[in-house]
């Protein structure tokens, strides 16, 4: 029988490589299996010369491999050298198809070759997944490729790009400058891409610079020896079979997420949420004993974390209970706590005191605490203020906090005690803080940033459930019944249902019968009615407000249609449950009737001016439905001086974060390409160092810890993030005037002389949060054309503006 290795490591990324290096150092019998022809494929595929950053810098490195920040080439070379020196047993081009068996006797089947046997398996395949291939004969021919690292490498070739997503479009456009490019789309339109990409590709197709085969499927790829070009692609098109000679095929068909593979190995995920990661023990062991998971796959997206885990997992497999690399960091964090003894005791104490955290694994808890801060606020001090935009989450380790419900000194106060939590409202809704929170006596708080909390919620179902329940109860309380007794609230909340809607999904339609009110907790909706055969949008309702209230006041036919503008969640309360609240508080009915009356009056007004509705729907298409603050330009005032852009560049290291001219215009309202400061910023998803945050006034900004991976650029649907190199320092005004030193005022620094070498980072609008006067673009506009506006004020904005600016 073949050799049984002590440990087999699957995936030679920083995590797997570090594990294998440690195993080699410890003289364990081991094998490192890597699907691609080189080590660390993910990093190998970074852009040439990319500066690899070693975040988080407070975390010490513990690995048999070196790692210091530097160019991609240097990092890879140092790993390669050390791997050779330690005589790590690597097998490349060994894609693993499945892992079966149990501890002591795992069988690893490979795509090519004999299966491999091992006592322990470490899974470190990262999150990139395997690239989807064509799935037809010829898919592996040398001129068929599935990636494109540098479009400038190719010139004067006939290239066929296959795919209709962002990657395919961006590649096709980049190649079209120097090559003859066609693109093959399986469908009859480009539906799965960003708007900007769709616009560009359609333009390129229309102008003939790229040829498009719509509704075309690939039949096969063949070598064609007699043609001058090496390849021949056979397509099935609506017009029949097409045979196209080409130099190269670039198929960008996306990647198959590793999840299915992982599940097939017997590993469980907590739920269907694609963001969830498999639960592992504090020793990285999955639910399958002997099968360990480390690195990005386990939810640790940074190289240094991956490498540390690689080292630790080998120690654990050998039965060495090493303290994790973060032990000292946690110790430092906890030592300020009264009565601190050891990290372990503190972890136990926290899980005992905070029920929400009781069910999570030690590893999750450590990670959670590493990201969190511990506060010991003075009694009576403010923890956060109503209407702030902060989004962190607090757990009470000791003492209590009080929260006034409503304004004025006589407003009733809610008290939260040890073990409770707060701050979930803003976290989930993406909106401003709904109340101010004051510290009580002897209070000890744990503050957790948004990302760690979102990660925990999506990986641990119990946490999600508890938080959702609290959210519903508290939302009902603060919106409708600050003074209602707890039993009534509990009853109403128990009957309430959480509903999820896709963008453009209808919550309910005009004329429907209905007896529920929906309190919007996330996203936003538009209200519309059919007038003269046309659906006219009458208003926009943001999260934190409710719709459908008339159903509860006796009128059970919906008077208008309510549609989600973006993915939206509501809390639906039916009449029977709501009756409890109405019975409890005589004034509630009046208050709701008053609000309803006002809404009706506004709507009637809007019905008279139909362009208002068109402007709302135009703005919704531009993503204003999820914005917290957006730059709008009145084109009847804009003198195109671009002073706004200059001001932005001048106050932001030479790169303007807004593109005044780009972006659509309707009824003289122009939406330039500029950040919307979304309620749930798409850019924050998958930022490995968690560098994107929201400041108290709502500004979404990128911190210096950005590692330049470009994920946010891809994730932002509005194309407002760029990668930029900080420009040289500007000389003083006189120095520039008299001696011509450096770039002068208004010179945009990107192309300016003497760029820093290659350390590109993501830059975007930060609403000038560090300038005392507020956004420079708006303050530099000489005519008042540029304004910033929050969607709450949108209705008012449209009422004021649209009458005078009809098209």
């Amino acid at each position: 029988m073949a050799e049984i290795y002590q440990v087999a490591i699957i995936g030679a990324g920083p995590a797997g490589l570090s594990a294998a290096a440690r195993a080699a150092e410890q003289k364990l019998s081991h094998i490192l299996l890597e699907a691609s022809p080189q080590l660390s494929n993910t990093i190998f595929r970074y852009q040439k010369g990319k500066h690899v950053m070693a975040e988080p810098h407070v975390l010490p490195l513990r690995s048999a491999l070196p790692f210091i920040a530097g160019a991609r080439e240097e990092v890879l070379a140092s790993w390669e050298q050390q791997t050779r020196q330690l005589a790590v047993n690597v097998r490349d081009q060994a894609e693993v198809m499945n892992v079966s068996g149990t501890q002591g006797d795992f069988t690893i089947s490979l795509k090519h070759g004999e299966p491999i046997h091992a006592q322990h398996v470490v899974l470190s395949i990262g999150l990139q997944g395997n690239l989807r291939k064509l799935g037809v004969s010829g898919e592996d021919l040398p001129w068929v490729q599935y990636q494109l690292d540098d479009p400038d490498e190719y010139e004067a070739e006939t290239i066929i790009v296959i795919g209709a997503g962002d990657a395919a479009i961006e590649n096709a456009l980049a190649l079209a400058g120097h090559n003859t490019v066609s693109i093959v789309n399986r469908k009859d339109e480009f539906a799965r891409c960003k708007d900007a990409n769709r616009e560009s590709i359609l333009k390129a197709i229309e102008s003939g610079s790229i040829q498009c085969y719509y509704n075309a499927t690939v039949v096969q790829a063949d070598d064609s020896p007699d043609e001058p070009q090496p390849g021949l692609l056979v397509l099935e098109t609506p017009e029949g079979q097409a045979r196209i000679a080409c130099d190269r095929i670039i198929a960008r068909l996306g990647a198959i997420p590793p999840r299915r593979f992982v599940q097939a190995c017997g590993i469980e995920f907590p739920n269907d949420d694609p963001a969830s990661v498999p639960a592992v023990s504090s020793q990285y062991q999955s639910n399958v004993p002997g099968l360990y998971i480390i690195g990005a796959l386990a939810g640790y997206p940074l190289i240094k974390q991956c490498m540390n885990q690689g080292y630790e997992v080998i120690e654990y497999i050998q039965g060495n209970p090493v303290a994790p690399a973060d032990e000292d960091l946690l110790k430092e964090k906890f030592s300020a706590m009264p009565g601190f003894t050891s990290v372990d005791d503190t972890l136990t104490m926290i899980q005992q005191r905070v029920p929400l955290l009781a069910g999570i694994t030690r590893l999750q808890l450590r990670e959670f605490l590493l990201d969190s801060g511990i506060h010991h606020p003075e009694p009576g001090s403010v923890i956060f203020t109503r209407d702030d935009y902060t989004d962190s989450f607090y757990s009470i380790l000791q003492g209590n906090v009080s929260i006034p419900l409503g304004s004025g000194p006589k407003a009733p106060k809610a008290k939260l005690l040890q073990g409770d939590f707060f701050g979930e409202m803003s976290l989930l809704s993406g909106r401003r803080r709904s109340a101010t929170v004051y510290a009580g006596a002897n209070c000890l708080l744990l503050e957790t940033p948004r990302r760690s909390m979102v990660k925990l919620i999506s990986s641990v179902a119990a946490v999600k459930r508890v938080i959702d329940e609290a959210f519903i109860r508290r939302a009902i309380q603060s919106k409708f019944a600050p003074e209602a007794p707890a039993e009534i609230l509990q009853q109403v909340a128990a009957n309430a249902v959480l509903k999820h809607y896709q963008a453009n999904q209808v919550l309910f339609a005009e004329g429907d019968a209905g007896d529920t009110l929906e309190l919007i907790r996330r996203g936003s909706v538009t209200i519309s009615r059919r007038i003269d055969q046309r659906e006219i949008i009458l208003s926009y309702v943001a999260a934190g407000n409710y719709v459908g209230e008339m159903a509860l006041l006796g009128n059970t036919t919906r008077s208008a249609t309510v549609t989600a503008t973006v993915p939206t969640e509501t809390i639906a309360i039916d009449q029977a449950a709501f009756q409890l609240l109405l019975d409890n508080d005589a004034k509630l009915r009046d208050a709701m009737q008053t609000e309803y009356r006002q809404r009706t009056l506004d709507n009637v007004q809007r019905e008279q001016e139909s362009t208002g509705g068109d402007v709302i729907s135009f703005l919704m298409q531009q993503g204003i439905g999820e914005a917290t603050d957006v730059l709008l330009i009145d084109e009847s005032l804009c003198v195109r001086c671009d002073n706004c852009e200059t001001a932005c560049a001048e106050t932001h290291q030479g790169t303007s974060r807004l593109d005044r001219e780009a972006g659509p215009t309707f009824a003289m309202v122009h939406v330039p390409t500029s950040c919307r400061h979304c309620e749930h910023p798409h850019c924050m998803q998958d930022c490995p160092p968690d560098a994107i945050h929201r400041a108290a006034n709502g500004e979404v900004f990128i911190e210096d810890s950005c590692i330049g991976c470009g994920n946010c650029v891809r994730n932002c649907p509005y194309d407002v993030i760029h990668m930029a190199t900080p420009p040289p320092k500007k000389p003083g005004l006189l120095n520039w005037l008299l001696f011509g030193a450096g770039p002068g005022p208004g010179d945009h620094g990107l192309e300016a002389k003497g760029n820093n070498k290659g350390v590109k980072q993501a830059v975007k609008c930060d609403m000038c949060k560090d300038l005392s006067g507020g956004p420079a673009c708006v303050r530099a506009c000489p005519t008042g054309a540029a304004i910033r506006i929050a969607p709450d004020a949108l209705a008012q904005y449209i009422n004021k503006n649209v009458k005078s600016t009809r098209v």
């Binding site: 003198v639 215009t665 005519t783 008042g784």
Partner: protein, 289 residues
């Protein structure tokens, strides 16, 4: 709050201030009644002169404030609002200051220069009011870059289509569309001030040239006997006339923008000259009177 322009900024705060200044100055002027006749040398004259000078300095300061992008001293819109309204009040304040005495001297020169600067400013203000909406209308949802790209594209299509007809026609189409523009067309977008007018003219020229080609094509088409040829001519004609419309649209776009930029080339140097004249005027008054 939305899109309040520099005209009605803060509910016409600076218009109101200017009117107040004018009102006070006028009452003082009528009540003052000096002998033999009002001029800059009386106490009211000095006061008005001082006020005017201060206003002029404030107006000049706009040039500096405009470039101080991180300044938190008000918004630029507020400054421009104060600039236009206080600037216009100078027409009356300075006239009152001078007592409407003109002659061939540095004092009158300063006065006249002031009037010219103010009028040029007024012209700019009117252009700022008029052009933006015209520009949006003319653009018709396109960016300038897209217009340019479309023109380049149509040009190459036209050449291919002309090829099908005759080498001669190819040549004339090339002549009409190529001169003074090449593939670096896009680069020119960057340098604004000087090339813009030139370009606007050129685009107008172009449109005219292209129009002539259209005539030629139509004439040849009428004379053609072959159905095939006629179809080629018709296709070419449609391409070329689309091309002309785009040219005109682009020319108009550039012209409208240039109008919004140029007047400043008059306004600013004149205002610097005014500063010089003003200083000479003051020196002359205090040292040589």
């Amino acid at each position: 709050m939305a899109h309040e322009s520099f005209i009605n900024h803060a509910r016409y705060r600076y218009l109101r201030l200017s009117l107040l200044l004018i009102l006070i100055a006028s009452i003082a002027f009528i009540w003052h009644d000096p002998h033999p006749r009002p001029n800059g040398g009386t106490w009211l004259g000095y006061t008005l002169g001082g006020v005017c000078s201060l206003i002029i300095l404030l107006l000049l300061y706009l040039g500096i404030r405009k470039r101080d992008y991180s300044s938190s001293m008000g918004t630029l819109k507020g400054w421009v609002s104060a600039h236009v309204w206080l600037g216009l009040s100078l027409l009356i304040l300075s006239t009152l200051h001078s007592g409407a005495q003109l002659g061939w001297n540095i004092h009158s020169a300063a006065y006249l220069l002031l009037i010219v600067v103010v009028l040029s400013g007024l012209w700019g203000m009117l252009i700022y009011q008029r052009n933006p909406a015209l520009m949006t209308g003319n653009r018709n949802q396109q960016t300038r870059l897209v217009l340019l790209e479309q023109i380049i594209q149509l040009d190459s299509e036209a050449l291919q289509q002309a090829d099908l007809i005759s080498a001669e026609l190819h040549h004339s189409v090339a002549q009409a569309t190529r001169p003074n523009r090449s593939s670096n067309l896009l680069n020119r977008l960057s340098n604004r001030y000087w090339s813009d007018t030139a370009r606007a003219d050129r685009d107008a020229d172009h449109a005219a040239n292209v129009y002539r080609i259209e005539q030629t094509i139509a004439t040849q088409m009428a004379a053609s006997r072959s159905d095939q040829q006629v179809r080629y001519y018709r296709e070419l004609l449609s391409t070329v006339s689309q091309r002309r419309l785009l040219s005109q649209q682009l020319g108009r776009d550039i012209q409208l923008q240039a109008q919004m930029e140029w007047w400043l080339l008059l306004h600013v140097p004149l205002s610097i000259a005014l500063l010089a004249a003003l200083l000479s005027h003051i020196v002359a008054v205090f040292f040589y009177w």
